[in-house]
């Protein structure tokens, strides 16, 4: 495996890290797997596309990319807020069993995906950037500009998230809530507000990853299925663990690029699937090492 592949793998992994962390944030607080995250990514990827198309005659390529990511991130936060309000608020108030959260999130994901299909048809679109063809030379190695942008943006947003989680009042509140909802609310915390804030954070990450996926794979309504990569990363890293998710995602990205070089991109998902199964057999608690058991 060459250094070149390693660089590509890390940049791909950084996008997976965004997905996996957005997924892990919600898992931590509400203790269920949020399948609607894929739908949020699709909607934001298209929103970003619309803004890029609208502005492409006025702004040059690089700032346009930044604006597109920003618009998508905002849209992601907004969509995630709506999802929380429509799909999960009432369930939480009614203290519904966890399987209803599952169904609600699946339904919400399908709803978002199909709304995109209805309004944008199932054609393929691509962003009007010309980043893909440009490369940057770093010593002996060449990196595609788009990869470099993805890596930088993902790193910045993940660092920002970690700063928020560990250095701000809101971050402390989110961590307290993921530890124990009842005690936190008895301590006078506004649970609804903190959960909304978590959804916004997860939606922002989802929005950014949506645009990156759209750049990598072109835009189509089923883009949300790329959330599988986020799932695999979370399973490898340890379910609901944010550091683990990042490590798992980077590992996954590197492994994927390695296998694509070895056996071709078509059959790679099969290998990734078996790696995930092997991980579950050998180390079900994931890299992070804390096993999450069903609450009694």
């Amino acid at each position: 495996m060459s250094i070149q592949q390693l660089i590509n793998g890390i940049s791909l992994g950084s996008v997976y890290a965004l997905i996996a962390v957005g997924f892990a944030l919600i898992f931590n607080i509400l203790k269920f797997s949020n399948f609607s995250h894929g739908g949020v990514m699709v909607v934001t990827a298209y929103t970003g596309y619309l803004s890029a198309i609208g502005l492409k005659n006025f702004i040059s390529s690089t700032p346009l990319f930044v604006i597109t990511v920003a618009v998508a991130a905002l849209a992601g936060g907004l969509v995630a807020l709506i999802v929380e309000r429509v799909a999960f608020r009432r369930l939480r108030i009614n203290k519904s069993p966890v399987i209803y959260y599952f169904v609600s999130s699946i339904t919400m994901g399908m709803l978002l995906e199909n709304l995109v299909t209805v309004f944008a048809s199932s054609n393929f679109y691509s962003y009007p950037f010309t980043l893909g063809s440009q490369v940057v030379h770093l010593g002996r190695f060449t990196v595609a500009t788009s990869d470099l942008f993805m890596l930088t943006f993902s790193a910045i947003s993940l660092l920002l998230l970690i700063w928020v989680l560990y250095k701000t009042r809101m971050g402390v509140a989110i961590r307290a809530l993921s530890f124990d909802v009842n005690t936190s609310s008895l301590m006078g915390m506004d649970v609804n507000f903190v959960i909304m804030a978590t959804f916004v954070a997860s939606g922002i990450l989802g929005g950014i990853s949506g645009v990156f996926l759209g750049i990598n794979y072109t835009l189509y309504p089923q883009l949300g299925k790329m959330i599988t990569k986020g799932f695999i990363a979370s399973v490898i890293g340890g379910l609901g663990n944010i550091t683990g998710a990042v490590i798992g995602a980077i590992l996954l990205g590197v492994t994927e690029v390695f296998f694509i070089g070895l056996v071709g991109s078509g059959i790679t998902p099969v290998f990734l699937f078996f790696i995930m199964l092997a991980f579950l057999l050998i180390r079900p608690q994931g890299i992070a090492g804390k096993i999450v058991q069903e609450k009694a």
Binding site: V98, F102, M108, K225, F231, L272, F273, L281, V292, E294
Partner: protein, 283 residues
Amino acid sequence: MDLFVSVITFTCITLIGVMGVFVVTGLTGLFSFGQASFMAVGAYVSGVLGAKYNLPFPVAIAAALLFGLAAGLIVGLPTIKLRRDYISLVTFGFGEAIIAILNNSASLTGGATGLSGIPQLTSLWLVLLSAAACIFIVANFKYSKFGRQCLALRSDELAARSMGINVNRIKLTAFLLAAVMTSYAGVLYGYYTTYVEPGMFNWTVSAEWIIIVFFGGINSLTGAIISALALASLPEVLRFASEWRIVIYCVIVLLIINFRPTGIFGEYELFARQGSSKSGKGA
């Protein structure tokens, strides 16, 4: 008449798939997003054997069921001991993996262009009989010792475990039963349309089946059957609204989950067994 027959056939095939989901999700509380991939396994294994090797229909069925069982074991064994979330995440990945395998073994499965030339052996009577048999099996499963243990572990796994129920074995049994049943639905599908392609079996199909089960109510087999009959046959009739169909289903399901979480039919059963409805709450 042809349209009528095809609507009935597809509805019955969906019904068999939904019965599988009812066992896994309705009774046991697990979520499988790879259920449609088991259908792909069944359709492709039997289809390849029928179209390429000209094996007789019953042999193809048996092989398909065995492969379905094996696939169920591969997915089920590592995941069933873990938290429930894992099985939904892993089955999701399983669906992707199956589609990748089908797309990349073009010499055997025809790849993305699909597998054609499967003999058309699924008759109306076969489909009706199969659907009835599956309903019979699931109904008996629900009221058997296994079904009751499934229900117990769905509502509280820890309590079920402490009552001496072998939780992992019961979960695996339910999962494998559903896997085999869905593979059979795949056989019927392949031998009816004579043509299968990987795109027909993605996760949205599995999600649609879960939605159908919740539409009727997860505690009611009758509800699952009726909603499968209604939701699977309507789109065949209302082709013009096909774009909006899933959107409308989703909105309805969100409304149901928010305002009537037990589903339309609640716990109602058309043929409730003697005593079962009374002892149900106490047990």
